[in-house]
């Protein structure tokens, strides 16, 4: 018989060793790399410098950042506008088919984004489905060149990331106490007021969680702009990929990654602040 503490001890040690080695250490290395200089043969010269970060303030890099934030923001907004009502209706439905409906949302969530993006390519390309249908119906005379454009990238991103907005929202809305809505109506609130003053504030953690799960990947999933935007669209993800693979400038690539991580950190702080408040409030119910 194992002494009681061994199992507990070894579990905790195993977990920490693994995470330190493969989660904490690598990120530390990224930070260090971002502070180094590009070496001749592939990597780095062990010379600490903040140069890389200064370089990033250069106009070209700045444009890429800005463009990425722009596209990611649009994508997040579209996902929110489409996803929130969807999650709300789904969470509030009393249909017997609720389990099946949820299942139908989970399938896209589990399916490879690559495959789903490819499906969008098939539809949007010049000789693709959309154009054929529109031409056949006589709605257009010339095929639309939708592929390799900002629009296509956004469509592709929204298509891939919508489930990531819906599921956290769904989880959050499901937990909403319906008695609060009853109480508000009892006190004289019409539907609009109930939504703005009660539902929206209380589902805010879900909105933020969903936004995080959409915004960050939207900036960093390089294969979507690659497939759908062509060479014209370079987002942060493509930039990092480029620096690590082609340009072999790991320090710059690391610096960009650190900035992306910092952005994620910011969003996490906001999320924690808001959900801490909500958690205290949930304790009430």
């Amino acid at each position: 018989m194992m002494p009681d503490n061994t199992f507990k001890r070894s579990s905790i040690v195993a977990i920490w060793v693994w995470l330190t080695l493969f989660a904490l250490l690598p990120n530390l290395l990224v930070l260090m790399t971002s502070l180094m200089q590009q070496g001749d043969n592939e990597l780095v010269r062990l010379q600490l410098t903040l140069n890389n970060y200064w370089e990033l303030f250069d106009a070209t890099y700045f444009k890429i950042f800005w463009h990425s934030i722009d596209i990611a923001a649009v994508c997040t907004l579209v996902c929110l506008v489409i996803g929130y009502p969807f999650a709300y209706f789904l969470a509030r439905t009393e249909s017997r088919y609720k389990a099946i409906l949820l299942f139908l949302v989970i399938i896209p969530f589990w399916t490879s984004s690559l495959i789903r993006s490819y499906a969008i390519v098939a539809i949007l390309k010049t000789h693709g489905i959309l154009n054929s249908v529109l031409l056949d119906l006589g709605l257009i005379t010339q095929p639309l060149h939708l592929l390799y454009s900002g629009v296509a990238v956004i469509v592709g991103l929204v298509y891939s990331l919508l489930p990531f907005m819906i599921l956290p929202l769904y989880a959050n809305i499901e937990k909403l106490d319906i008695r609060l809505i009853d109480a508000a109506r009892d006190l004289g609130a019409n539907r609009m007021r109930v939504f703005i003053r009660i539902i929206l504030p209380l589902t805010l953690p879900g909105i933020i969680a969903g936004s995080m799960l959409v915004f960050l990947p939207a900036m960093s999933m390089f294969f979507i702009p690659d497939l759908l935007g062509g060479a014209k669209t370079m987002l942060v993800g493509n930039l990092i990929q480029n620096q690590f693979m082609s340009a072999r400038n790991w320090p710059i690539g690391s610096a960009v990654s650190i900035i992306l991580t910092a952005l994620m950190g910011l969003m996490l702080v906001i999320y924690w602040r808001i959900s801490k408040n909500r958690k205290e409030q949930q304790g009430l119910l």
Partner: protein, 255 residues
């Protein structure tokens, strides 16, 4: 909003989700190389697919990594979830946050960080680096899945077990695993899917000798829309569908 409106909205979004994939699947049976016009039903693309030996090797690689990564990630993830729930230890809150951060982290950040790690430790990129990376990014998902189930248990069971003389290990094997096996299974299935589908992290950490399906698909789709690719994607989608079905059935099991 009235019921019809809600129903219409939900249907529209569902169509949005499934239409492109349906198109893909339909055209994988189209008896034509390039055209979009329906030229008849054919299995030829699938036959080509399954006859492709290079592709078979790549598929085996993916499945191998998938199964191994899922298994190890499930073990680690389950231990994490149980430890977080049951034990008080130094750094507990930090661990909780770390798991959350790992899930929210963009893949690319994880990908390059692991690349730098392996490069610093002078480990050649290939099977092992891929496996270790996959275990790392799958493990938090298992942890979250199992944890969400474990908090639904009656806390008193553990006290009762201890009262009757069980060690932690016994509690783990005789109480926790039997009670939580649906969540653990779902964790495994989720990890397997994530591993099978991963593009970004694998892109950075695998070597030229060890190719995997998603990267293969990536290079194929960059060349354009082709029926063989349609067939391959359809197969992958079908596989995912089965896995999701299995996981939902597992979760449906009441203790």
């Amino acid at each position: 909003m009235n019921r019809l409106g809600k129903f219409a909205y939900l249907t529209a979004v569902y169509l949005f989700f499934y239409f492109p994939i349906a198109v893909l699947i339909v055209y994988s049976f189209n008896n034509s190389q390039y055209s979009l016009i329906w030229h008849g039903f054919t299995f030829s693309w699938y036959q080509q697919l399954f006859a492709d030996t290079d592709l078979q090797l790549v598929a085996v690689h993916s499945l191998l990594v998938g199964v191994l990564a899922a298994t190890f990630a499930t073990v680690l993830g389950t231990l994490t979830a149980v430890s977080l729930y049951r034990y008080q230890f130094y750094g507990r809150k930090l661990l909780h946050s770390l798991i959350f951060i790992l899930i929210v982290s963009p893949d690319i950040v994880m990908g390059i960080s692991l690349l730098i790690l392996f490069s610093t430790l002078k480990i050649t990129l290939g099977f092992w680096t891929l496996l270790l990376s996959h275990i790392t990014f799958c493990m938090p998902f298992v942890s979250v899945t199992v944890y969400s189930r474990i908090i639904g248990l009656d806390k008193n069971i553990f006290e009762a077990a201890k009262d009757l003389g069980a060690t932690d290990f016994t509690i783990f094997t005789r109480v926790i695993i039997p009670l939580l096996w649906p969540a653990i299974l779902v964790g495994w299935l989720l990890s397997f899917t994530l591993s099978l589908d991963d593009v970004i992290i694998s892109f950075f950490v695998t070597g030229p000798d060890f190719n995997i399906l998603p990267l293969q698909i990536y290079s194929m789709v960059r060349l354009g829309v082709k029926p063989e690719v349609n067939a391959l994607c359809s197969v992958m989608f079908g596989l995912t569908l089965l896995i999701v079905l299995a996981s939902q059935l597992a979760l449906r099991k009441k203790q």
